[in-house]
């Protein structure tokens, strides 16, 4: 009973080799600084079959979250921001896979797996919380189509996506999800400027004005939007946690190499007890995050992951932030410089941590599952 079977080992090795061969450090520094999506690498990764492994085979996947997590970890470990961009290129596609009609899936999913289509999850609006009670974007029926009006913010791939998954109000207390083609008339996109991290993916403000969406682009049934979102959050949590693990591992790789090479006070700094202590802490965080993420992915593939996706994201994000932070510290002044790479790993880790609502949302989800949802909306009284 080993950890990875032969085929998984091969996938991991292939992903590592690809990342090592294709991801270029200097190019990554430039793309990240300017907020540019690594389109060429993405295309090649799609061509070689590294994307969407967890999607059904007929759409170009055929493996599971476990394998997708292995690839994601390997990519981010080699090059944090590029790895994140490749993962996020298919952002929201799980909603389509899980809930979309056959025709819709056949049309779009292969393009996602083959890196011909970037997708975007357009969920967030200003002031709209996890309950989505104040959702403003609407979709109303008009003949055999839906007319979408509203504005979404913080949409990753917001200016570059070809397909948007848009959470809309379709009636009183009814939230639904529509797949909106990026070419539709009435979509205005605006870049929200540089991001703290994961800056090759771009945050966009996307305005939908009377956008006509064919009926078949409704995912599932009207009113299923929040359930789809919940499910998507678990799917995404597993993969983002794998990315975080990769970032942590990549920062640790670099720190290990650095402390064995850099000298101070007459010896390699890796010989100092306190540096060894830090490396050991970092190793423990990486290994523990990795074990948790794999357990989550394994159980998610088996359809019984419970709280594990949220746990995995919470734990792996913290590991990534802490390990990359410590890597910066071990590098000293150089760690604060862009060219050190680890400073970027650190920013990427922190940015990843904020996704899907951040630690607070993960904890809410875990508490909901373990001790039930809150009883009513009553504010807590204080003494």
């Amino acid at each position: 009973m080993t950890d990875l079977d032969r085929s998984q080992q091969e996938i991991r090795k292939a992903a590592r080799d690809f990342a090592k061969g294709e991801f270029d450090r200097d190019q990554a520094l430039e793309l990240e600084r300017d907020g540019i999506f690594p389109a060429k690498i993405w295309a090649k990764a799609g061509e070689l079959g590294f994307l969407g492994l967890h999607l059904p085979e007929i759409y170009g996947g055929g493996l599971g979250f476990f394998e997708a997590a292995l690839v994601t970890e390997a990519f981010c470990r080699q090059e944090s921001t590029t790895g994140c961009a490749l993962l996020l290129a298919g952002s929201g596609a799980e909603c389509l896979w899980r809930s979309g009609g056959k025709a819709l899936k056949a049309r779009y999913l292969p393009a996602v797996a083959q890196a011909r289509l970037r997708t975007a999850a357009a969920f967030i609006e200003p002031g709209v919380g996890p309950g989505f009670s104040s959702l403003q974007t609407t979709a109303r029926r008009e003949g055999d189509a839906w007319i979408v009006d509203g504005e979404k913010i913080h949409v990753l791939n917001g200016t570059g996506a070809g397909l948007y998954f848009v959470l809309c109000r379709t009636g009183e207390g009814q939230v639904s999800m529509l797949a909106v083609d990026g070419d539709s008339a009435g979509i205005a996109r605006e870049d929200q400027g540089p991001r703290l991290g994961a800056n090759m993916s771009g945050s966009g403000r996307v305005r939908f004005t009377g956008v006509r969406v064919p009926d078949g682009h409704l995912l599932g049934m009207p009113g299923e939007g929040l359930a789809q979102l919940t499910r998507f959050n678990d799917d995404a949590a597993v993969l983002l946690a794998a990315a975080a693990t990769g970032i942590a591992a990549g920062a640790l790789d670099r720190a290990q190499a650095y402390v064995q090479e850099r000298a101070a006070f007459g010896r390699k700094i890796g010989a100092f007890e306190i540096i060894r202590d830090k490396i050991a802490e970092m190793t423990a965080q990486v290994e523990s995050a990795r074990a948790t993420v794999r357990q989550a992915a394994r159980r998610h593939d088996a359809g019984k992951s419970g709280t594990l996706p949220a746990v995995a994201k919470l734990v792996a994000d913290r590991a990534a932030v802490a390990v990359a932070d410590q890597a910066v510290q071990l590098y000293g002044g150089y760690g604060y410089m862009r060219e050190s790479e680890v400073e970027r790993f650190y920013r990427d880790a922190k940015a990843l941590q904020l996704m899907l609502g951040g630690p607070g949302a993960m904890k809410n989800k875990i508490a909901d599952a373990t001790i039930g949802r809150k009883t009513g909306k009553e504010e807590s009284k204080k003494v």
């Binding site: 919380g129 104040s134 913080h154 991001r195 306190i274 910066v328 410089m337 650190y346 951040g358 607070g360």
Partner: protein
């Protein structure tokens, strides 16, 4: 009880400085950050207005103020959320070397310009192969025939691009004992053999002109040495307490700013119609953040008072430097988590705070060095 005694003069100074920042600095900060530069002219404006080198004696054009003025400048500059116009570095870290150890001639020559902002200063210690380990310094300074010849490279030098005067630490290769080999020299901009490298691209401190400096057979008069030959270590040790305290001042000011912004953000931001700050988990986070900032502030104030009484508080200042800088950055990280997706964008001021505070645990001696110093002086 007030640990520090602020006088009306202090309060008045703060009011004037705040007004200056509000009108002359803050409106331009986003541009400076985008430019990765502050107009050189700003230093002069600030000096002319009397906000630089407040500790320098009136004899040389300064205010002759106590250290509370330095605290005020640090706090008010922290409010500007920019790092290029690094007044505390210039006034409280670099210029004191000249003020304390320079000859009368050097003081007359340079201090008035430092006060007026005509001279921007930097101190060059770190080297590519020697960060916190001064004994590994490779830059050499050879004194001969009334001249000093400096050779070597320095890195991570704040104010590196703008500086008109740089205090360079260099070793005399002829002296066996490294601790007796270091001297400090004042090098003027324009001296042949003194070159600046490129502006370094950093995680934060974007408006700060941090750079590498290169010295190639750079000749200066031996009169530009501070103190005795080989006294460099001693001079550095003497001033490091104040440098570290200045870091702690910056860290606590940053922490307070982060707490203030975050509380305000959580009070005014509605989520599903309810202010974020009505959430108990958010409240607890805000209380914890406030507590850490206040506890750090009290410790800092006490050390400032002790420092002003000229006490030797090397252990406590080392502790304060590490604890407050870690704390400020920890608070910045928590702030991002509370703010959520808005904090993924650089337009959120807390992103700059997060990126700017990160270096505090590295500069002026890493926090590991601080702990090592504390351990040593605690007799462990």
């Amino acid at each position: 009880m007030d640990i520090l005694k602020f006088t009306d003069a202090h309060h008045d100074f703060r009011r004037r400085l705040r007004a200056f920042c509000d009108t002359e600095i803050i409106p331009h900060v986003d541009q400076w950050e985008a430019d990765h530069d502050v107009p050189r002219e700003m230093w002069r404006r600030m000096g002319r207005a009397g906000f630089l080198c407040t500790g320098v004696s009136p004899e040389y054009g300064g205010l002759g103020g106590d250290f509370i003025y330095s605290l005020i400048v640090t706090e008010e500059m922290s409010r500007t959320a920019q790092t290029g116009l690094a007044a505390p570095l210039h006034s409280d870290v670099v210029v004191p070397y000249i003020d304390s150890f320079g000859s009368e001639a050097l003081k007359r020559k340079y201090l008035p310009g430092c006060v007026s902002g005509d001279i921007v200063t930097a101190v060059a210690m770190s080297e590519p192969a020697a960060g916190s380990d001064l004994a590994a310094m490779e830059t050499t300074g050879v004194e001969r025939d009334g001249q000093v010849v400096i050779n070597g490279a320095k890195t991570f030098i704040s104010n590196g691009i703008h500086c008109d005067l740089v205090i360079v630490a260099a070793v005399d290769p002829a002296v066996e004992n490294r601790h007796q080999a270091v001297s400090l020299y004042v090098v003027e901009d324009g001296t042949p053999g003194f070159k600046r490298g490129n502006r370094l691209e950093k995680m934060g401190w974007h408006s700060q002109d941090t750079a590498e400096l290169f010295f190639t057979d750079c000749r200066i008069p031996v009169e530009n040495r501070l103190g005795q030959p080989g006294s460099g270590f001693f001079l550095l040790m003497d001033k490091l307490q104040q440098e570290r305290l200045t870091c702690a001042m910056g860290a606590v000011a940053a922490a307070e700013r982060i707490v203030e912004y975050t509380i305000d953000y959580c009070k005014r931001t509605l989520v599903d119609g309810k202010p974020l700050a009505r959430s108990q988990a958010v409240q607890f986070a805000l209380v914890e953040m406030s507590s850490e900032a206040r506890i750090g502030r009290t410790f800092l104030d006490k050390l400032i008072a002790d420092h002003m009484e000229k006490k030797n508080i090397v252990v406590e200042v080392s502790m304060a430097k590490y604890w407050t800088t870690d704390m400020a950055h920890r608070l910045a990280g928590r702030s991002l988590e509370l703010i959520g997706e808005d904090a993924a964008l650089e337009t959120c001021p807390m992103v700059r705070a997060f990126q700017d505070t990160r270096v505090m645990s590295i500069f002026a001696g890493t926090n590991e060095i601080m702990k090592g110093i504390a351990a040593k002086f605690m007799g462990l």
